[in-house]
């Protein structure tokens, strides 16, 4: 009887240990959501703002940079923000005094992609409007003198 009990105990121990040994050869996964934002800086003429210094400000401290980096040859920088800090994140690109700043509403109602650039049609229309303003001013003062 004692022998049978001992065999049973050993058998139970083996059953418990076996799965651990088998699982050591498996692959496990765990995941967490960690959204990234690919930001592309480019000049008005379409050329990329490459090798620009990128400074990132988190919503909780708009004075002290949360992180810094460099844009690649395509003017791109991949931002992986801390999602525990929802709000307006500010990202500044700078190269030789040129560059710009973009505000990202992370955790808010921001679309999946967006652009701050004007379309060619918008630019042409604005330029025509401004030029017409100057020409009109010139004509007005020229007429007044006669």
């Amino acid at each position: 009887m004692k022998r049978l009990t001992l065999i049973l105990i050993l058998a139970l121990l083996w059953v418990n240990i076996l799965p651990l040994t088998v699982l050591a050869h498996g692959v496990e996964f765990k995941y967490e959501s960690n959204s990234s934002y690919l930001i592309t800086g480019f000049f008005d003429d379409g050329s990329p703002l490459s090798a620009a210094q990128v400074t990132i400000y988190a919503p909780d401290d708009p004075k002290k940079p949360w992180g810094t980096g460099i844009s690649d040859e395509q003017g791109q920088y991949l931002l992986t923000p801390d999602l525990t800090k929802p709000g307006i994140w500010t990202v500044q690109f700078r190269k030789a005094g040129h560059g710009g700043t973009i505000n990202l509403d992370i955790g808010g109602q921001m679309g999946s992609s967006s652009s701050t650039a004007h379309s060619t049609t918008q630019i042409v229309l604005m330029v025509i409007a401004v030029l017409w303003g100057f020409v009109g001013t010139a004509l007005y003062f020229k007429r007044e003198r006669r």
């Binding site: 210094q53 810094t68 030789a96 700043t101 604005m126 020409v135």
Partner: protein, 213 residues
């Protein structure tokens, strides 16, 4: 050459507005004290339009992309109207197209307007009716307009590089940007010489406002 918003501290931007206020007030006072106050407004308006337009034409000079300024020519043709013309054009560029910025408007006007004022002064003092001397003077003014603007741009940026960025990398980028403007300065010198010489031949009255100096 247009410094956008966020690149300079509020103190520097305020100082830029201060200088621009003084330069504009001085220009307007001198304009009002001359007979040219309304006579030259059509010319000033059309040349402001030209200045607004040429700044939008990009010229690729690897690794940078630069654009024409023609502030030397503007100064020679407009005299005291030059600084206000630059200011108005830069304001519209900032508001409509996002070139430069509203906080840096004073600094940008200073960078491009002061060389225009100096060009106006030099051209008013040294203008010659001889084509060769007029051409040489035109070249000097055109070249100087860009060269001085670049010097002011470099000095202001180098003096106020923010602490959070890599200062050495920024300095190298600024030098590269300045070097890219050397061919532009030569080109603007030639363009200014040609235009001033042409105007001197066909309609010298257009150059009259610079006689007020």
């Amino acid at each position: 050459m247009h410094i956008p918003d966020g690149m300079l501290s509020p103190t520097v931007c305020l100082a830029g507005y201060g200088v621009t206020f003084l330069a504009t007030s001085f220009s307007i006072k001198r304009i009002n004290s001359t007979e040219a106050s309304t006579r030259d407004i059509p010319k000033a308006s059309l040349l402001t339009a030209a200045f607004f337009l040429v700044s939008l034409i990009s010229i690729p000079v690897p690794p940078a992309s630069i654009h024409l300024l023609l502030n030397g020519l503007l100064g020679a043709l407009l005299g005291y109207f030059a600084y206000p013309a630059v200011l108005v054009a830069l304001f519209l560029q900032a508001v409509m197209l996002g070139h430069g910025g509203l906080t840096t408007l004073g600094i940008n006007a200073l960078i491009m307007g002061l060389p225009a004022m100096l060009s106006a002064f030099i051209y008013g003092k040294c203008r010659s009716s001889g084509p060769l001397l007029n051409s040489i003077l035109g070249f000097i003014i055109g070249f100087m307009g860009i060269a001085l603007s670049v010097i002011l741009f470099v000095v202001i940026l180098m003096a106020f590089i923010p602490g959070q960025i890599n200062a050495e990398a920024e300095r190298v980028a600024i030098y590269a940007m300045a070097a890219a403007h050397i061919p532009l300065a030569l080109a603007e010198g030639l363009i200014t010489a040609l235009i001033l010489n042409y105007i001197q031949k066909v309609k010298p009255s257009l150059l009259q406002s610079t006689d007020t100096y």
